[in-house]
Symmetry: D2
Subunit: 368 residues, 4 copies
């Protein structure tokens, strides 16, 4: 479609929205808030009662997405403080909705004023404007990655719930700016600023990030998420398969452009005899399936990977248009990360945790 | 997780299922039926009234997934006849639920008897048994690819609805058994048995298929789906993004192990300045975004690719176990395809059509 | 609103529908079919595996809504034969969708031709036409009470599931044509043609029905539904309370105009000291609450009543308009019941069973 | 069921909850918060963009449910201050989630300490404990009527949206403590403290309230809600009928025990020839249908009535048990209303507004 025609549509037919801010069927979250509004938050409905929960554990997970933990991210101070507003009494969940919120501080809308009428290439501001006919130019509004704070807060609750079932979820960087981690030593992922399971790769990644930063450009990469000790039998045929729900959960994160399970796109090039995981009384001999067969967990590790695109806001000048459709150029000067990785890792981990918590509830109903 | 432990779980804790056979919010389908039961079908709820619809157009699309159209698929005669049971009066939809069904014929359960107690590597029978504690060994039961007939029937209705908006959806094979289509000449996709947009590649694909068939093995590949003339503004932030819904829709197809949008996994290795699509008054200069920004359509072509794993049922002998957990070997002798491609292509096309029909309804509500 | 204006809207703005043919969250049904189409049916998604199920038990319940069982209903032969199309293997449910259908036979669309262009007072044909802009004049189309066959089939499955939990649901007529049943002897409800728990009332009801039939008029009444041995704790605050879901389930039946729980509208005139049910270690001393407190079952009998309006199709001449908005009169000559009672009773019972089956699944998830 | 058995269940099988705190399909609200927690609030997802909205209009509606407006309600100062946290920019909605919250102030948990281990007859504390196995004794927790503040805040947004369509919703008291309003002069409802459309009745109501207050008892009544100028065609067959959704919405309010549409329970005693609304080119000659035929609006006024039970907390001593199942007596000394009316009226009005806003969105999708 010609953009001209699109903009015509933008201006003359502003359209309705229908709600898409809820995720999950039984462990169910609804998020709210925009980048430069009063805050962001989440209502978690369906968390079982009697799960120990305090603000500290939520805060720990939120801190993992704060900026400044690596050279890849901006130095902006963003002291996100999680507050539990409801659903917890005397240190445990009560079964009623849990609302967790974070006030927005350190908000500087003025920095966005130069771009108030410019669409940023690679950004959602042009498609949001097409959708709503309203423009909240302050820091990306609801399209800002800031909405993921709410996902992480909810993910922390899901992780607490899964931990009671001895299910563990970890995430780590397997590619950044073209540098691949060959090793998978998960003990190392907290020992380097990029959460790489390969220290050699981590050093190369750092060099690459510094180099790209100087260029005023940005990079993407690949994050892998692993869930251990998920029992067999989770996932609902035929549409709510556990891999289908993981795909949706992860693809719904702004910067993600691809999701694969187990062997993923590599499976496309294999023979059946190579790709099938042979079965023995002691278990599967390989895990090309990524722990999922026909959309149902098979008891093996669940392995998912996501492709993260480079951050669209860059210092390098780019061609664009303004809201009146006139040609323009843009060069983003604000505080922007060089890469969404590693801040995005904990968001991926949160989304996987939410899918698993939901399917745990969907599967564990037993007849009395 | 050790399989031993899993099987323990299988036998002593049989678990409940919760419903996952419905897809879509407003254009909403619910499918039913298993491989060797009386039939398969779908209820479509939410199709607007006054859409012209007859059994012929549904039949045409269902015929595209029948076997025997290429050397890659079995020669089984499977005369799938679609019947509209409700929701259409005097040639148009009435707004009430449309039920379309196909009776199962040419069903030969006896062929499955040798495997009645064997789990097939790469198949869902082991995970289904873990889930339900019930084993429908006849041809895969609900886990069989036969359930996709219902998806295609529903997809035909979605396509008819989208056609009224001048939206067109096509699918084609861009990789098969390691052979890549370099060209993208969509005029060619009906001129070769693999639906390849590259005739040279199609010839190589045929050779590869014949070769693998002789080996008693199977292959996978990559299918690309393209949607033209989708208006900007479709998709619901933040979880029901249009790419998130596409990812779920496609990953829910049995053989799919990966989904990517636009540049997809390649975006992970690019610089921001390369990956961003520059904007001009005449439109975007490139389409790395695959027509979707921040989960909302931007007016450009929507481009999605899926990784299809090789068919797990192969003649080559494989290690497995039986339902009593004893080691065994299996070699599948029945009528099986060498590749899910190209029969799966129309299923992918159907799922994309269903997502778009749903988001068309979600977006077009205008205030009176 | 002036009807004139309404009809204008009818003709110039035909509107979209969105799907409302699904009921339940976890024990979930989707119905399809219209009065004079090929058949009616239901997909039940979420029924747990291993529930014994055969066509006989479904047929028994469907037979209870067939005409000709009392003087209140037409003598039309309507040999509804239930067929299970999927989801059952070797006599038990498999956990996959159960589709049950009934073909339409004994359909005589010609009888409706005289009214093809007339709106019938008290009927939904005028509001359906406003909604869809399409008129299926054959026997009421989707608005016909015939759609309730599908509810009853699904209700039979729900009852089979609840019976395993020793939960029993019964329905009976407590008022008909102004005649009230004073007694509540539930042993009698199968001993008289109106399902009255009071034999004296049953005799009066019969006289009243015969009298009204002669007049060419129709009558309504009140049905009570009782659920025994529902455990305490079912129902989801704050919107999916069990009484809220019962109210929706029952009000969704065509002829129902009111729903009340326990003391119901009588509670409005009582003092708190009268209406509260005192609690003792042995249980509640009364049951004005109808077994539900704050939307959650309290372990006592659940008691619900519905107001059933008189059948709108009557022989007596009534003023109306045709589809061109011209004044007309109508007198319905076809085979019509004098009262929806007692055929509606089993429909009410089915809807209550469906709500309880859904909340059983919602409540019984226990942490592993 | 014997309560003894129930309590056994309470103590040994504490059960999971599944989420029920969301209402609506397209205009969708999720509420959170408990009586003595940090606050209560609501996320509204699906409100179209460009609706003018400020805190003032929400505050006005919230003020209508504050105590102290009539002799029927306690004098507790409860300065509920609504704050819009997201979804509004430059005075209009943006299409993104609107979160509105009210902090809890004037909370005095100490007043509830004497009853910390006692179940209150007529209250939900015993059924909540059965459900969750957790007891939040402070002022009723989530079961408190305080949760309705969130409903009213959301209802104010729905009303603002409906007002743009010229749809008006009013509520008024038609019965209180056995005193019936015979007249229906809606101009009077703001002229008396009980929102009665009949001034004579209002005076009798006041006498009755004062009398009952002295007795330490409480009373119930009936509220009628009227929606004017709803276009024909709203409501989704067959389960999401507009009357079915109204029934659920209203029955989900804590004190409501019955819901009826139009003639309601009176229709049960009428002849068809009396109850049918004759149709003329100028419109319907009567409105026994309450504006709804076959679950779809017919363009006439929508009329709904709800039965409100007497407040369960009374000064008069009542028999009960404690959490250890020992017999006890209770006499509630705290600040309690004599009747939920008239504070509940605005809650009913809010719920009706939310149903209508949802069905407006469900119906107004027009094909492009």
């Amino acid at each position: 479609m010609k953009l001209e025609q699109s903009l015509y549509v933008y201006l003359f037919i502003w359209m309705e929205k229908m709600p898409g801010n809820t995720f999950g069927k039984l462990f169910r979250i609804t998020t709210w808030g925009e980048s430069h509004g009063k805050g962001v938050g989440v209502v978690i409905d369906g968390c079982p009662p009697k799960i120990p929960l305090d603000e500290g554990s939520i805060q720990t997970m939120i801190n993992r997405r704060r900026p400044g933990t690596s050279v890849a991210s901006t130095a902006r101070r963003e002291p996100d403080q999680a507050v539990i507003m409801s659903g917890v009494f005397e240190g445990v969940t009560t079964g009623t909705p849990i609302m967790i919120m974070v006030h927005n501080k350190d908000v500087d809308s003025k920095a966005y004023e130069p771009y108030a009428n410019l669409f940023r290439p690679g950004h959602g501001d042009i498609s949001y404007f097409a959708k709503y006919g309203v423009r909240d130019w302050r820091g990306g509004g609801r399209a800002s990655a800031r909405e993921t704070v709410a996902r992480v807060a909810a993910g922390a609750v899901a992780k607490a719930f899964l931990a009671k079932q001895n299910i563990e979820i970890v995430s780590y960087t397997v590619e950044l700016g073209g540098i691949r981690a060959e090793a998978r030593d998960l003990n190392l992922i907290n020992n380097n600023m990029f959460c790489s399971p390969d220290m050699d790769a981590a050093q190369e990644m750092e060099k690459r990030v510094v180099e790209v930063k100087k260029m005023g450009d940005s990079i993407g990469g690949i994050v892998e998420i692993l869930a251990r000790d998920v029992p067999p039998g989770w996932g609902e045929p035929v549409f709510d398969k556990i891999d289908a729900d993981l795909a949706k959960a992860l693809m719904s994160i702004g910067a993600v452009k691809g999701v694969e399970i187990g062997a993923g796109f590599n499976a496309a090039g294999k023979l059946g005899s190579e790709n099938n995981d042979a079965i023995t009384p002691q278990g599967f001999l390989s895990n090309h399936a990524g722990g999922i067969l026909a959309g149902i967990s098979n008891g093996d590790d669940i392995v998912v990977r996501v492709a993260v695109k480079p951050i669209p806001s860059i210092r390098i000048e780019q061609n664009t248009i303004d809201t009146s459709k006139r040609p323009a150029t843009i060069s983003t000067k604000g505080r922007h990360d060089v890469s969404a990785i590693p801040r995005i890792n904990v968001v991926c981990e949160a989304m996987v945790s939410l899918v698993l918590a939901d399917h745990l509830l969907r599967q564990t109903a037993i007849q009395p």
